[in-house]
């Protein structure tokens, strides 16, 4: 080849790469920052990305039900910012299902460990981080209440159906400390040693706040709690006294009995609306059993309020 051909080839390559650099650099920079040109609206839109790592690899990805061509690990780019339903599936493993949020110019990094299917073992299809769960038995139904990193859910006992009941997130340590849960009149009532919470589950439009504030904080330590007085009041032994918390008017309570000893115990018979108390007799070392019929004590209040209603 003659020198002039080398010279031509060299100049051609130089201008080709220079041109490619000048044209592609702004495009790549814009693309790197998450911009995407939308032909329909003729506007630059800011997108986000989803980076998925899985164990095992080569997992099929579905985003809002649409199969993604690429297997994991991989990155899905140019996603418009909103919430998506992500499903990861692989033969021999439980599918992974979760809600993810894509934000503009950000990458949502998902790192998932798929659990292999074991004979006779079922796994929920929804992959929230579950902090705690309770089995709630009602007359005709049984539900599992789960406290997760995404809120509070009711789950069918066959692990199929799931329904969000609250946006409120109870951190793992808090969810683990819950001693008992009662579902009553579209309310979830649950408590640990220190606090009592009530979550309204009647409202489909969840409140904007996702932090749950206790309706009652014990002076010492919550020992026993019973739903009574026509399932309107929560009768609580808080170590110092027995009180009744009005579940219809949160924040309203009244004292039933002052305890003499820290080791006092109570039992509430909802059928007869009677409160039994094991407590020490003042100025003695002996415990005795006390009985209080509650209805006459506070029944008048309820009747009066009903009349007002």
């Amino acid at each position: 080849m003659q020198e002039k051909y080398y010279s031509f080839l060299r100049h051609f390559s130089f201008w080709l790469f220079s041109l490619a650099f000048v044209i592609l650099t702004p495009v790549i920079v814009y693309y790197s920052l998450g911009y995407k040109f939308d032909i329909k609206s003729k506007k630059f839109l800011k997108t986000g990305a989803l980076s998925i790592k899985t164990f095992p690899r080569a997992v099929t990805v579905y985003l809002d039900g649409k199969k993604i061509d690429e297997l994991t690990p991989g990155t899905i780019r140019e996603l418009m910012p909103h919430k998506y339903n992500l499903v990861l599936e692989k033969e021999g493993f439980y599918p992974y299902n979760m809600e993810i949020e894509i934000k503009p110019s950000l990458v949502n990094n998902i790192d998932v460990f798929l659990i292999p299917k074991i004979k006779g073992v079922e796994k929920v299809k929804f992959d929230f981080n579950i902090y705690g769960f309770f089995l709630l038995r009602q007359i005709f139904t049984e539900k599992i209440l789960i406290f997760t990193d995404k809120g509070i859910y009711f789950l069918d006992t066959d692990l199929e159906g799931i329904k969000k009941v609250s946006e409120q997130i109870f951190e793992e340590h808090l969810a683990n400390s819950i001693e008992e849960v009662i579902a009553n009149n579209n309310k979830l009532i649950f408590w640990n040693k220190k606090n009592i919470w009530v979550v309204d589950i009647s409202n489909e439009n969840f409140p904007s706040t996702n932090t749950a504030n206790p309706v009652y904080t014990a002076g010492r330590s919550i020992k026993d709690a019973f739903l009574g007085l026509r399932e309107r009041y929560l009768i609580v032994n808080d170590g110092l006294k027995v009180i009744a918390l009005d579940m219809d008017n949160l924040g309203v309570s009244f004292e039933i009995y002052t305890l003499n000893n820290l080791n006092a115990k109570i039992f509430y018979d909802a059928r007869s609306e009677t409160l039994y108390i094991k407590d020490k007799i003042p100025r003695t070392e002996n415990f005795s059993l006390f009985k209080i019929e509650i209805m006459p004590l506070i029944g008048g209040r309820i009747s009066n309020e009903r009349r007002k209603d």
């Binding site: 080839l9 060299r10 950000l106 990458v107």
Partner: protein
């Protein structure tokens, strides 16, 4: 006084620019991390384009060399269509010698003797230095061994402490060339027909080097305005040199290979050849500067008002890989050698000073040449540092500062594209370097080839530590006015 001030400003410019690039990226990241990431993305894309362009040049250079591999240059010389006669051409081969061992010089002369070019047309000059004790006796003994093979062997001993001279290769070569001028004048040779080759003591020309050089000299219409640059292949001691030293020197070879395709930017480097007439006209190599090999080109460029070029020859010369007594010493030797090469940034000051007085050269040409030198040296000092250290640092710190930023995520992706581009060039280098390999000496295991393959994994470390750092060191010294003294590279075999 004014000239001194201008010189100091010029000395500061390259180092300032290099440090500015490094620090500005770090400061920008502290102040505006996202902007720093965008700048790094642009910088990396620039290098992807540049590396891919370089790989095209490498392939072209390789193709050109292969296509001329089987040329019968000697016959071509005899049939060359030229105003000069082949029979009249005389070669002066000047070896600059300091303390190189006798066996090394003998090896070089054996190679010279065995070229296909008629040895009775070659005058050998053994240019020793008074600083090296017993230099004359050593060179005399060598001369006696080879005298009958060449037209003549001249021994010159450069006296020490000549006013205005520094202890550098250029001063020795100039002293010897002046003696040769007297010798040739006395013998009645026409300087127009003399080609001088200035070789390091370890330079072993390929058997076709002088016939190829002569042919190109004969057919070149601007032969007195042209230097001839062979491809330096560092392979004489390739089977005994440490892996990292092999990688560096092979890298140097490939750099020259690529540069050889850019005619208008190509300048002389290390061993080179040119017309003796031109050498006299430009008053020989510089005696007071270190990078004599490239400065001789710029002296000619200035002398002929920009009408001067370097022509890349397609036949190589073989040289030694700089090694020390042990691994650590080799690192030191390599570092110092690369720093000395990087001291070639003094070309910028030399040229800028002369350009100020030279109105015959158009401003655009001056600007392009100065930019060419500055661009080469500043990139040399910074690119590996930015790619090997600053980018990973920003990627690491970015994960803390910017967490889930898409730009940061894409930067790591683009960074991997750069490394893939580098790997592509490395693969080309591995394939091409195989062809430059001399035959395996007896006693060297075949397993050495395994290390030849895996040596390339050292490239990222080497490009930063023995690529950019020596260059940054040289520029910083120049910037601070702490001038480098010439350190000859020890040659042992």
């Amino acid at each position: 006084m004014r000239e001194e001030k201008i010189k100091r400003i010029l000395e500061i410019i390259p180092g300032f620019l290099s440090w500015f690039i490094i620090f500005s990226l770090i400061i920008l990241f502290i102040l505006k991390p996202l902007s720093a990431i965008v700048v790094i993305i642009v910088y990396l894309l620039y290098w992807v384009a540049r590396l891919l362009y370089s790989s095209i040049l490498l392939l072209m250079a390789h193709y050109r060399m292969q296509s001329k591999k089987n040329n019968d240059w000697l016959s071509m010389c005899k049939d060359a269509n030229s105003d000069l006669k082949f029979e009249d051409i005389i070669h002066v081969v000047l070896y600059t010698i300091y303390k190189e061992p006798e066996n090394l010089i003998i090896d070089s002369l054996n190679f010279l003797k065995d070229t296909d070019y008629p040895a009775d047309k070659i005058i050998v000059v053994l240019a020793g230095e008074e600083r090296a004790q017993g230099a004359y006796d050593k060179l005399k003994a060598i001369s006696d061994k080879f005298k009958q093979h060449f037209l003549d062997i001249i021994i010159t001993i450069n006296p020490k402490n000549i006013p205005g001279e520094i202890t550098a290769k250029g001063a020795n070569a100039t002293y010897a060339a002046k003696q040769v001028k007297v010798y040739l004048g006395e013998k009645g040779y026409d300087f127009k027909n003399i080609i001088i080759s200035c070789f390091d003591a370890d330079t072993c020309p390929d058997e076709k080097y002088f016939s190829c050089l002569t042919y190109n000299f004969l057919v070149n219409q601007k032969r007195y305005h042209t230097s001839f640059q062979p491809l330096p292949i560092y392979s004489n001691n390739i089977y005994t040199a440490p892996a990292f030293a092999r990688v560096i020197e092979t890298g140097s070879t490939f750099w020259q290979f690529i540069e050889g395709m850019r005619y208008e930017k190509f300048i002389t480097f290390s061993s080179h050849s040119m017309s003796f007439k031109t050498l006299i006209e430009v008053d020989y190599w510089p005696v007071d500067l270190i990078s004599d090999d490239s400065l001789i080109f710029w002296k000619c460029f200035l002398k002929f008002n920009g009408d001067y070029k370097t022509y890349p020859l397609d036949i190589p010369v073989y040289m030694d890989i700089a090694v020390g007594k042990n691994l650590l010493d080799t690192i030191k030797v390599q570092y110092k050698q690369k720093r000395r090469w990087a001291w070639g940034v003094e070309n910028f000051i030399f040229l800028a000073q002369h350009f100020l007085k030279k109105n015959e050269i158009p401003f655009t040409v001056k600007f392009r040449k100065l930019y060419q030198i500055l661009d080469g040296h500043v990139n040399w000092a910074t690119w590996a540092i930015v790619i090997s250290f600053i980018t990973p640092l920003i990627l690491f710190l970015g994960k803390i500062v910017l967490k889930n930023s898409l730009a940061l995520f894409n930067l790591s992706y683009i960074n991997s594209v750069v490394f893939h581009s580098l790997s592509f060039i490395l693969l080309l280098c591995i394939i091409i370097s195989w062809e430059f390999m001399p035959p395996r000496p007896k006693g060297v295991s075949r397993l050495v080839y395994v290390s030849f393959l895996f040596q390339w994994l050292l490239t990222p470390f080497i490009s930063a530590v023995l690529g950019s750092f020596p260059s940054l060191d040289a520029q910083t010294r120049l910037m601070l006015g702490r001038y480098l003294s010439f350190t000859p590279t020890p040659k042992t075999r």
